[in-house]
Amino acid sequence: MAEAHPVGFQWVMEAKRRGAKVFHIDPRFTRTSALADSYLPIRAGSDIALLGGVIRYILDNELDFREYVVAYTNAATIVTEEYADTEDMHGLFSGFNDDNATYDQSSWRYEGHTQAATTQDSETQRETAAGLENESHGAPVGGETERDETLQHPRCVYQILKRHYARYTPEMVERVCGIPQEKFLELAQAWTENSGRDRTGMLVYSVGWTQHSVGVQYIRTGAIIQLLLGNVGRPGGGVMALRGHASIQGSTDIPTLFNLLPGYLPMPHHANHPTLAKWVDSIAHPGQKGFWGNARTYGVNLLKAYWGAAATADNDYCYGYLPRMTGDHGTYQQVLDMIDGKIKGYFLLGQNPAVGSAHGRAQRLGMANLDWLVVRDLFMIESATFWQNAPEIETGEIMPAECRTEVFFLPAASHVEKEGTFTQTQRLLQWREKAVEPPGDARSELWFFYHLGRVIRERLATSTRPRDRALLDLAWDYPTHGPHAEPSAEAVLLEINGYDVTSGRPLASFTEMKDDGSTAGGCWIYTGVYADGVNQAARRKPGAEQSLVAPEWGWAWPANRRILYNRASADPDGNPWSERKRYVWWDAEKGEWTGYDVPDFEKTKPPSYRPEHGASGVAGIAGDDPFILQGDGKGWLYAPTGVLDGPLPTHYEPVESPVRNPLYRQQANPTRKVYTHPINTLNPSPPEPYSQVFPFVFTVSRLTEHHTAGGMSRTVSPLAELQPEMFVEVSPELAVGRGLTHLGWAHLVTARAAIEARVLVTDRLTPLRVDGRIIHQVWLPYHFGFEGLVTGDSANDLFGISLDPNVLIQESKVGTCDVRPGRRPTGPALLDLVADYQRRAGITPGQHAPAVTEDNEGKEHGAS
């Protein structure tokens, strides 16, 4: 966190001053480790084994916050008999379908529920990254469940959890992660001791944690621990996701993702959502509890914001105009389609895939096969100059004279040269003013898209073709100002907030939204940011002049609520769990919820409220159900549906690993998204033969001095000079073993690429003893590319493409490689080197390890 989020790390230092204990778990010793109380080196890709060990420690020693767990989580809920666990199936859950390597989730359902109410088959869900839809609302389940609050029923979630993690012993943690048992126990003890009625503990991760073939399950494992310890919905608790850029949270809320619309409404699928009614029903799940019952309202308001007066009840509010998904349109599928010539044109905004995305060579070859490419950036980045400067020029794979891609480079305004909001990890919107005019032709994104739309609409103005109606009917009328006709960002924020169509009055809350077209709002969860016609995101009352929650600094969605699910900060009767952790509570005299924050609960619903049998939507949420967006109002230790790779996180090895999974016969995530495109060659992992050709683990991350793919730092002298060259960090032991010298050169080889880097020999990298052998890990920064003041080979070139099935995030934080002294060969010899490695490793194009690991001759792994 100190390494990639130094400004946010000030609050960790502040917590330390007040006595907080900080543990840091990372494959390399970073600036964060230097300031932490304790540092645990870990083998990259083994986090679920570590956290599973913590879950076992909690359950075995009964250290869970029992009152919280029974009342607020689904620990007591009973699961159907049909469910079978990884314990009994060599690392698979019940319902696995060999044909398409997905799970039929119906056997995971709660007892008494007829069928997990998904509307889509699991293959379509994987194709469309459906897991993202669950980011802010639970997967669909019925509201009424069978429970055993003594937690003794053998099929209650608590007991299932206990069995599932029984084999994640401290010995196993040591064997899988390379973390000494005493270090593990120190962590487990500190975490549990600092949780409960009087204390809370926080789990903080950065984006790299998600970039695994089991990325979603990493986060879920953390969430299970935090729920068991009562650390969710309470001050000082939670799972804090540090985002990778200033407004990545904002770009999921108002998404730049293919499968989401603003406010976590799913992008319609052409086959499953033919009508508005079908689309909103697939979100609301009639009969389910919670706030998603009003999905129609949110959907209609979005359509009204898009199409204004043209959107009427008679035409389903122009629902027919919305684009439809037909399958996987994720970034990696698109790149492979570019290579295959299926995509003609592409827009890149603030993104540098030639350096920043996995399998850089595939990225560059894909872009070199487009008709046209628009790049909007602050500097001439690698993704704009690949056709003349890419490493593939030297190898002869791209010839500048013949490269067909026409690149349009449009200079962009930086964040200080335009106004708008950033939404950070706390869902806090902070307005920023324009400080200086952008230089030359540089313009804001808002300017670009507004005028692009304006020009296209002018060109089409006389068109009578039905397909152009969606564009021509858009409400595309923003006030502009200045010599360049810059659209008003505040006008856009007002539209996002929502307003009464007749009077124009800004809405104060999404509860004011109507589903009859009388209100319009671009993102229901942002409603209130422009309440009273005031830009609430621009508020900057100093912290010293207000309460610790600081409600008058910026504005947080939803409803300016700073901690989600904060009903859980009070006990089931509505009283604070403790004086020390008082946050939101029930005021019996006034008959309302009150506290330091905006209560995340219906204001006057008493703790004693119990829904009528069969109640759905908001009315179905009981007075002691804090998780108001979940179908059963409970925090999910166990996911009866919606998580495509299983109801409980399970340790699978990374797709590329030098180690046979010590826990199960199943080696890697069986449901991972596999691309068998011939360019996507993967290193073999046990039990496949020849994994020893790539004996070392490599991981990549950031340096404080640089920003992501380097477009904003390698181009700027005061930053570039602070880390002026690509390097690889190796332990002294590996340096001796491989003949590497400090500040000398090394090159790293995978089945995709060979890259070179200067060597830093350092004790900050340590060999680990894993499953009885020494595993060496090396670390690289992923900031370097071939443009800018400082250049170097790109670490992401080393990765292949393997994705998490839930959200299609790539596994780009762990892989295997070989490390050799000296510089890499150049020109065609470079291709020969990689080809030679492929040959030695027995890799043929399109060949991938089977989804389900067959290993009948081997020992039974980890069975107790």
């Binding site: 100190a2 130094p6 230092m13 932490a36 404080t704 005061p718 602070l722 332990s731 002294p732 004790d763």
Partner: protein, 322 residues
């Protein structure tokens, strides 16, 4: 007449001594390395505000330090010291804020010489094998001009380019500097430096232009963890003493101040530090002395020598004529 010897050595409030009437309180930096996260925001903020040019695109291999030293083109310098814990630590191991650290099995301390943070032939890390690994320390420290009470650079400057400000800081006026370079050899810390292709001497101004406007120097403003604190020196010294005490209470006996003592060889620094090891580990001189300290003595000796020479000459003539 020779100046009061005390003005070249010992405790002093430099601004009034330099002739300022009703000078504001002496301002300075307290850099607490125990909370430094090595982000180098200070280096970048300094360069941005002061328009300091690039100092070279070289990978130095000194851990994450690619700046190397304070130079004409680097007025803040963050040192990184990768340090195995060695026998030098007598008390129970503890981290910088005081919680005990489990070192696991003892490292074989005889395995190598103590690493002093100096660049050398050996790589900064030395291995003990997978079993012998324990936590080690990664020290970070943002170095800067010390703005000495007795600033030798200022004393030797023949043009008056270097001057004492009303805040007690020491600033080079680039339009007066003639590039003679006397100040460079005079600085006991090796801070001030000549810019290549320019010839003039450059160093930290403690953001004199910001101070006059009531603003905080750029580096301190940018520091996210308050490792660099700016304020009246008296307050900073109190705060620093309290911080050392806190750290000692929390089991960090190695915490000590550097440059805080008005009785040291430079009369105390306007920019002083809390360190977690010997100054040499950070590349700081252990006992800096203002290079002009002995000037009065030297003048006396020179005077005596001149008198003796004169007497001898007179004697020789007198003797010769006799």
């Amino acid at each position: 007449m020779l100046p009061d010897p005390n003005s070249l050595y010992g405790p002093l409030d430099p601004a009034p001594d330099a002739g300022y009437e009703n000078a504001p309180p002496r301002m300075g930096f307290f850099t607490d390395t125990s909370v430094c996260i090595g982000c180098k925001a200070c280096e970048v903020a300094c360069k941005e505000w002061n328009g300091v040019p690039e100092s070279g695109l070289d990978l130095l291999g000194m851990s994450y330090d690619n700046t190397g030293a304070l130079t004409a083109n680097s007025w803040r310098h963050v040192a990184f010291i990768e340090q195995p814990r060695t026998a030098g630590h007598l008390a129970a191991p503890a981290d910088v804020l005081g919680a005990p650290v489990d070192t696991g099995s003892d490292r074989p301390v005889e395995a190598g010489p103590q690493f002093l943070g100096m660049p050398g032939a050996q790589p900064p890390g030395r291995g003990w094998g997978a079993e012998g690994r324990t936590d080690f320390r990664w020290l970070m420290m943002s170095d800067v001009c010390k703005h000495c009470t007795h600033a030798a650079c200022l004393d030797v400057c023949p043009t008056g380019s270097l001057f004492r400000t009303e805040f007690g800081t020491v600033v080079v006026q680039e339009d007066i500097c003639n590039g003679c370079g006397y100040c460079i050899s005079a600085c006991p810390y090796g801070v001030i430096d000549q810019r290549k292709g320019d010839g003039r001497a450059w160093k930290c101004t403690l953001c004199y232009d910001r101070l006059g406007a009531g603003m905080t120097p750029a580096c301190a403003q940018a520091c996210p963890t308050e490792s660099i604190q700016y304020g009246p020196l008296d307050e900073l010294r109190e705060r620093a003493a309290a911080r050392v005490e806190t750290l000692h209470d929390r089991g960090v006996p190695e915490a000590r101040l550097y440059g805080h003592d008005p009785n040291d060889g430079v009369g105390g620094d306007g920019a002083f530090f809390l360190l977690l090891d010997e100054p040499e580990v950070y590349g700081l001189p252990p006992d800096p002395v203002v290079t002009t300290r002995d000037l009065p003595k030297m003048w006396k000796r020179a005077g005596l020598a001149a008198l003796a020479m004169a007497a001898a000459t007179v004697a020789a003539f007198v003797g010769g004529s006799s």
